[in-house]
């Protein structure tokens, strides 16, 4: 809820919202991205605030988003790209090249890292990616800073004609704070694309020349960053903390409790602001590096100390003082700093070492989720057959949970389809299934299908089409018929795409019709080559529930429903099976499984 204070509006927003408002305030002209926790709310926030004149899109994947944005930046427009850390692996190809070519308008690549990891496959460190691509990186520590810093990122990008990376982490993206957003902002006025093949067409000669230029320029940026407003020093003394990101906030809190410690904060890890660090290290004999993911700053400090023959001890991850894996916390950094500064651990803790065993609450597919029915149909149809089930990234990764237990592999976006092919070539006695969601199919599944057809794989592709990008918060995609400009567009048909790519057998079935679904799987298993089943039923979160099911008097308490499908709405009460009407969506899968027909819709009994 905006609150008017003077000429500025104070908004209490999520870190991702602060990034979005900061980009609008900076006059962004185009924003493109692909959903991924913890980055998804940036594009969504822009769509909810006035953004006339801004082109906004969920691109089909991160690579597409990066290329769309690069063109906008070539035209002199300000372009924002958003993704999570693994998305940058997908977009690495255009990023590495656009780093050589450079830009005219500001191009900011927001790539959210996920220490923990909390909802990711890897703990990769995007600051290292910035170093690899030789482009600047900004590392905010709070939502308030993120709001300010995104504007700086656009300024530096234009000043040095280079794309820049903006790297928040989960605890910045998903924290809330108040920011003072300007009342009005207008997209930047820009010139438009000016043709110049010597500049915009990447060739070996251009790359060679620009490589040398970029390294010279990065030395200039490093010097510039040495006076950057968010590279800061506070406190004094021979012992110092060097930190960045949310760890800076933990160090700040520790300082409040201990009457002030020396804290050196590096908000621009690359190009490393060496002059700033040299100044900050004057009079220091020992430093401890507090950072998440990889010891990037630690390595730069070691290089600086070595190059200048400084007699300074450097502690951090590399000497085993801190763990390499997992996220930092006030607790972890507090313990590390207590040892470093020689303070006695202080605490106001309640002893919970004698706590009773707590119920585990693992994530599961929602009650009524159509993915449960799809997995169950495949499992039933393939009883007694040797199979491999290659999973993918999305809600349906949860098909691994008992009792379904239907995910044998999960690697990365789109790998379900292609890994099934690999198994079909090596394990010829096995029926190879590749599962993919609808959004994942468009993002990175389609090329895998062409690969299967061309290289004569023998697979069954299961597209679990729930008409949305469910896992990241129900974003639209090419199959939904809506886009982020608010337009109704033609739905891209998954079946037509498959047909066009040469898949000969394509069956579309509603997974909640169990018999038909099982028959479709059996039919495909008897057919050689590349087969596809589109299991189509919408996510329960985007449609209204049907008539709820209930268990009638015919129930013989065999519990087949509970044992085989594990729907959270199926509960036991006083020893008998019941359906929790708060959770049931009326999908009817359990009714089709009951051997005595005891489960029915409302009014059946």
């Amino acid at each position: 809820m905006p609150q008017k204070t003077g000429d500025k509006m104070k908004e209490y927003v999520m870190g991702n919202g602060a990034i979005a408002l900061g980009a609008l305030a900076a006059g962004v002209n185009l924003a493109a991205g692909y959903p991924g926790t913890p980055s998804s709310e940036i594009i969504e926030t822009i769509s909810k605030y006035p953004h006339a004149g801004v082109h906004l899109e969920w691109s089909v994947n991160e690579k597409a988003a990066m290329e769309v944005a690069a063109a906008a930046a070539y035209s002199g427009a300000r372009a924002l790209v958003t993704m999570k850390q693994m998305g940058l692996n997908v977009a690495a190809d255009p990023l590495m090249s656009v780093a050589y070519v450079g830009v005219k308008g500001g191009m900011v690549v927001v790539c959210a890292d996920d220490p923990g990891p909390i909802s990711s496959q890897t703990e990769q460190d995007t600051r290292r990616f910035a170093d690899f691509a030789r482009i600047p990186v900004f590392d905010p520590s709070t939502p308030e800073e993120a709001f300010e810093m995104i504007g700086d990122a656009f300024e530096y990008s234009e000043k040095y004609s280079t794309p820049v990376i903006f790297r928040p982490t989960t605890r910045v993206c998903h924290a809330y704070a108040g920011v003072e957003a300007p009342d009005e902002s207008a997209p930047k006025k820009y010139e438009g694309f000016v043709r110049d093949p010597s500049k915009w067409v990447i060739f070996p000669r251009l790359s060679n020349y620009n490589h040398g230029m970029i390294e010279k320029r990065n030395a200039e940026i490093a010097a510039d960053f040495s006076s950057y407003r968010f590279n800061t020093v506070q406190g004094s003394g021979p012992l110092a903390v060097i930190t960045s990101g949310v760890s800076y906030a933990y160090a700040g809190e520790y300082s409040e409790k201990h009457g002030g410690i020396k804290i050196i904060r590096v908000a621009t890890a690359f190009p490393f602001p060496e002059d700033f660090i040299l100044g900050a290290l004057e009079g220091v004999s020992s430093v401890i590096c507090l950072e998440e993911l990889s010891p990037y700053i630690e390595e730069q400090v070691l290089k600086t100390v070595g190059r200048h023959h400084l007699d300074i001890e450097v502690k951090g991850k590399l000497d085993g003082t801190e763990p390499h894996n997992g996220e930092n916390s006030a607790e972890l950094t507090g313990a590390v700093l207590d040892r470093f500064f020689g303070f006695e651990p202080e605490g106001n803790l309640i002893d919970v070492s004698d706590s009773p065993a707590l119920p585990a609450r693992p994530p599961v597919l929602c009650a009524g989720c159509p993915h449960r029915a799809s997995f169950y149909a495949v499992k039933q149809a393939m009883k007694g057959r040797k199979c491999v089930f290659c999973g993918d990234i999305g809600c349906y990764t949860l098909g691994n949970a008992m009792p379904l237990d239907m995910v044998d592999t999960c690697l990365c976006m789109g790998a379900g389809i292609t890994m099934a092919q690999g198994f079909s070539h090596t394990d010829k006695d096995t029926v190879c299934f590749g599962f993919t969601g609808d959004s994942t199919f468009f993002a990175s599944g389609m090329t895998g299908v062409v690969n299967a057809v061309y290289n004569e794989a023998d697979i069954i592709l299961c597209v679990l089409d729930n008409s949305t990008t469910a896992m990241t918060g129900h974003q639209p995609h090419p199959g939904t018929g809506r886009n982020m400009m608010g337009d109704i567009v033609e739905k891209v048909s998954i079946e037509k795409v498959l047909e066009g790519m040469g898949v000969k057998k394509i069956i579309t079935v509603n997974p909640l019709d169990l018999e038909k679904a099982v028959n479709a799987v059996r039919e495909c298993a008897e057919t050689p080559g590349v087969k596809a089943i589109v299991f189509r039923s919408p996510c329960i979160a985007i449609v209204k529930s049907g008539a709820k099911c209930s268990v009638g008097s015919k129930c013989i308490n065999c519990r087949k429903c509970i044992r085989e499908i594990g729907c959270p709405a199926l509960i036991t009460e006083n020893g008998s099976v019941k359906i929790d009407s708060n959770l049931c969506t009326g999908c009817g899968l359990c009714a089709q499984i009951c051997p005595v027909g005891a489960i029915g819709g409302e009014g059946d009994e």
Binding site: Y12, A175, G252, E331, L349, V352, P359
Partner: protein
């Protein structure tokens, strides 16, 4: 004023609205506020927490262990799970109605929450409320988040005034539910006042 307020429960119980109202009310009072919530995979049937930090001394969005002034627990085992965040001498406002884990029917553990409430009673200052009982006059368990806010507000441990919270309820709740939510908050407030009197005596 510096206050750390933790809200915990199970996905779908309405913890997020409660934390948003507290954060907005504190902002309205001119305080610096930071907060954080569980988002994503952990939400689906899982344990959820919201951290609300009021005051200038909080730099990070997460409450450190041993720092929370008050825990609003929507479920007894979730109160125990997050008890380490409560400072010694802090207050836990706990719903005694258990939420069985979604895997309970597959693998019965007999969880009923009683062991949790007994443990909490031994460990800290508690106010126990039964959501089934307090929500009954309002016809839906959905009002529990507003009721527990009322209880917490009356204890004074949140440091936020009654009127500011009522104002935020007015701002955030659709008009047709507004009056019921106000009444639910005031019902909770009354419970909180009584409980406060009891433990102060």
């Amino acid at each position: 004023m510096n206050k750390d307020i933790m809200i915990c429960g199970v996905g779908g119980q309405g913890t997020v609205l409660a934390s948003k109202i507290i954060a907005a009310a504190a902002t309205q009072e001119g305080q610096t506020v930071h907060s954080a919530e569980t988002i994503g995979m952990a939400q689906r049937g899982g344990s959820v927490t919201s951290h609300v930090r009021i005051g200038d001394k909080a730099h990070s969005p997460l409450i450190p262990p041993g720092s929370a002034d008050i825990i609003l627990a929507f479920e007894p085992s979730e109160a125990v799970r997050n008890l380490r965040y409560l400072k010694a001498g802090g207050l836990a406002v706990v719903n005694t109605a258990p939420v069985k884990p979604v895997t309970e029917s597959l693998k019965e553990t007999g969880y009923d929450g009683k062991e949790m409430t007994a443990y909490l009673r031994r460990k800290c200052r508690c106010i126990f409320i039964d959501s089934d009982e307090v929500c009954a006059p309002f016809g839906s368990a959905k009002f529990f988040n507003i009721i527990i806010l009322g209880v917490a507000c009356a204890t004074g441990e949140t440091g936020i005034g009654k009127d500011v919270i009522l104002n935020q309820i007015d701002l955030r709740v659709p008009e047709k539910f507004r009056e019921t939510n106000r009444l639910a908050f005031l019902a909770g407030y009354e419970i909180g006042e009584k409980e406060k009197k009891q433990y102060e005596d």
